[in-house]
């Protein structure tokens, strides 16, 4: 089992997401992370799909995605072969008097610090998946009110 990222270039029309995701559902492969947005080519979308699976199965899935009429191209890579980023937003419950301490820590964590109100702050970090997980673990002493990560975007090296 490995982490694979599929980069799928498609026409930007409704229904493509459903077709692509149903190929994963059929094979009982869970989509761990998903992002889609229009590329610099107007009318074309890029999907970035992250799954945990074995190589043979993922290659078969790639073949089946290629069959979809709205799909122009599919590239398959392991996570290490790509430049990738996710954005994480964390809301932390912290009393006013402790804000400064967390702000200092956030510089250490390379995260952007914002005060929401007297009792809550948010940290924002854009980095690799692993770095974000590391940051989350470093905040284990704090009360995390909410934590959300975005879809992964990836570029080839």
């Amino acid at each position: 089992m490995n982490d694979y990222t599929l980069l799928v270039l498609t026409y930007n029309v409704p229904g493509v997401l459903h077709r692509i995701s149903s190929i994963f559902t059929r094979r009982k492969v869970n989509i761990e992370n998903l992002h889609v947005s229009e590329t610099k080519m107007i009318g074309m979308s890029r999907f970035t799909i992250v799954v945990k699976s074995d190589k043979e199965l993922v290659e078969k899935i790639v073949s089946q995605i290629r069959k979809i009429i709205e799909v122009k191209e599919v590239l398959l890579h392991t996570t290490e072969e790509l430049i990738h980023r996710e954005v994480a937003l964390i809301k932390v419950a912290v009393k006013q008097q402790d804000h400064q301490k967390l702000e200092d820590k956030s510089i250490q964590l390379d995260a952007k610090f914002t005060v929401v109100n007297d009792n809550e702050v948010t940290l924002e970090k854009c980095s690799t998946s692993d770095e974000i997980t590391k940051m989350y673990k470093e905040l284990s002493d704090y009360k995390i009110v909410e934590f959300i990560r975005s879809g992964r975007v990836a570029l080839l090296f």
Binding site: G15, H18, R19, K60, S63, Q64, R66, K67, I69
Partner: protein
């Protein structure tokens, strides 16, 4: 002014645009059933009666199977026209069947007005969402302007490459709105040459074949779709290679040819299955290594290098690793391969098949086809039918024991003579598919072989046959059981016959109620004359053959077993 009249030269309603698009695509037959959301199109169809024949079925599933039968015989896309909601959902089984058996269909479904979408309106269903996994492509038209381009795409996708079903959902407002009509056949952006095999691949394949001591050809549906029958014979004859057909490949290779060894698969022939374990090179042409053919993959063709000629790249390495994948249609691939093949002779290898044939004849075929006592056997009836029809009939089989018997014992003399539901195994397929085939091949004697169970799934289509005066022949092999399930219960579930015994109506009275001639045969002595009467009848005819109640189809590869574990009894 009449509805749907042309206002100025090209300004027509969406409904008329659909009709015009069908005419542009060369469609002259539609299988359909009207309803609320498709009424504007039916109104437009009324003015196209001369150009397009519409067959009113009795259930939309019948429309889908009839369109499949039509498409199998002509190679053109079969067209269905149905309404929204239940009309559309009734097509689902047929669409799934066409998807897995690679049959080109264009299904047009009506839909509620676009402003009602997503509101749970009357007879609204998300047929696009429902058919995503079972169509090559689908699209919902909400604006009349889109119609010509989408219809052109639909017909292109249905028939190009590996054929399959396409569904076009048209909202009611799009059918009523007016638009400026002009039509252009679909031209794909560019031809994808990424997969095109180069000469090295054919050289490699040729080398493997020339060095092989025990080469073996698997001929599948792709040979028929590609019209590669002649190229297949040329290859087999040049290098003296035995040929076996998959279920859908039957009739792609002449059965009286000395190189024809039989059918592969769970109920195929003894030698054809056993020898897969002995082959050193397998040339798989237009077939997908379905589990019925491979049995347990851990033991499948372990000694063989595999050359896989297949038009769909997703099928390569899907089930079996190909040593030489050739992504191409069968005809082109075989044409390019032949120059690299050396003449050869494999008498000893071929004899191995013949030795197995002798065993199969002794243990299975003799008793099945020439029983001396007891009730009529299915194989016996099929064999006699094959003799009397001289192998010239177009045989349409339903699903079950009778289907396997028909596949095993009919002797196909011409290509495109065998139509059945393989991948999905849809009971009820044969009756509507048969009249679809008859319309496609009016000069051929089309004979549906159906079990008593499967017949009752779509028997209302007798109404279509009667109304349209289609001289389809129906042979029901009645054993009063869901035979194939009963066989499995006998062999693998300790004879626990859980809900497989079926009481049926008097089929002859039923046929008579539809104005269709019929005859029941229960005695061996009446079988020949009964079959002859059925074949000679100028109109539709239903022949019920009462057969042995509890009888099994052999040989059999038990489910999940290796094909070399094929049982003769």
């Amino acid at each position: 002014m009449e509805k749907n009249t042309i206002v100025n030269t090209n300004c027509i309603s969406g409904a008329t645009a659909v009709m015009q698009s069908l005419v542009e695509e060369g469609v002259d037959i539609i299988f359909g059933y009207p309803g609320g959301a498709i009424m504007p199109i039916y109104d437009a169809l009324y003015d196209y009666k001369e150009k397009i024949r519409h067959i009113l079925v009795r259930h939309e599933q019948g429309a889908s199977h009839a369109a499949e039968g039509y498409a199998r015989v002509t190679g053109k896309a079969g067209v269905c026209l149905v309404t929204s909601g239940p009309g559309a959902t009734n097509l689902v089984t047929g669409i799934a069947d066409a998807m897995i058996d690679s049959i080109p269909l264009v299904c047009i479904t009506g839909q509620v007005s676009s402003k009602l979408l997503g509101t749970d309106a009357f007879q609204e269903t998300d047929i696009i969402g429902i058919t995503i996994p079972i169509t090559k492509w689908n699209y919902q038209i909400t604006d009349a302007k889109e119609i010509p381009a989408i219809m052109a795409r639909a017909f292109h996708y249905a028939t190009e490459g590996r054929p399959g079903p396409v569904l076009i959902d048209i909202t009611k407002n799009a059918q009523i709105e007016f638009m400026e009509f002009s039509y252009e056949k679909f031209k794909p952006e560019k031809i994808d040459n990424a997969n095109k095999p180069d000469i090295e691949i054919f050289k490699n394949a040729g080398q493997l074949i020339n060095e092989a001591k025990r080469p073996y050809i698997f001929a599948g549906h792709g040979v028929l779709i590609s019209h590669a029958e002649k190229e297949l014979i040329d290859l087999a004859e040049k290098a003296d290679i035995p040929v076996a057909c998959t279920l859908h490949g039957l009739s792609s290779f002449p059965q009286d040819h000395q190189l024809y060894m039989g059918m592969l698969g769970m109920h195929g022939n003894y030698g054809t299955n056993l020898m897969t374990a002995e082959a050193d090179v397998i040339i798989a042409v237009g077939m997908r290594f379905d589990d019925r053919v491979t049995g347990d993959l851990k033991h499948f063709a372990k000694k063989a290098k595999i050359i896989h000629i297949e038009i769909d790249p997703a099928e390569i390495h899907k089930i079996v690793k190909a040593d030489v994948p050739i992504i191409s249609d069968a005809k082109t691939a075989l044409q390019n391969l032949l120059p690299h093949i050396a003449a050869a002779s494999h008498s000893e290898w071929k004899q191995k098949f013949r030795d197995c044939d002798a065993q199969e004849m002794d243990k299975v075929i003799k008793n099945e086809v020439f029983p001396e006592t007891g009730k009529i056997k299915m194989g016996e009836a099929i064999n006699l039918f094959a003799e009397i029809s001289q192998g010239q009939s177009l045989v349409v089989a339903d699903v079950g024991q009778h289907q396997m018997m028909a596949a095993r014992y009919y002797k196909f003399k011409t290509k495109d003579s065998w139509v059945t539901s393989g991948g999905l195994g849809t009971m009820g397929f044969a009756l509507p598919a048969a009249f679809g085939c008859k319309i496609a091949a009016p000069d051929r004697n089309v004979v549906a072989i159906i079990g008593d169970g499967g017949f009752q799934m779509t028997l209302q289509e007798l109404g279509t046959i009667a109304q349209e005066k289609l001289p389809v022949k129906i042979m029901i092999l009645n054993n009063h059981y869901l035979g194939m399930v009963r066989q499995w219960q006998e062999l693998f579930f300790d004879n626990r016959y859980s809900f497989v015994h079926m009481e049926s109506p008097d089929f002859i009275k039923l046929a008579d109620a539809y104005g269709i001639a019929g005859l029941r045969v229960s005695d061996r002595k009446d079988l020949k004359s009964g079959i002859k009467k059925m074949l000679d009848c100028k109109d539709a005819f239903l022949l019920e053959v009462v057969v042995e109640k509890e009888h099994n189809v052999f040989p059999m590869v038990p489910a999940g077993a290796a094909v070399s574990a094929i049982r003769l009894e």
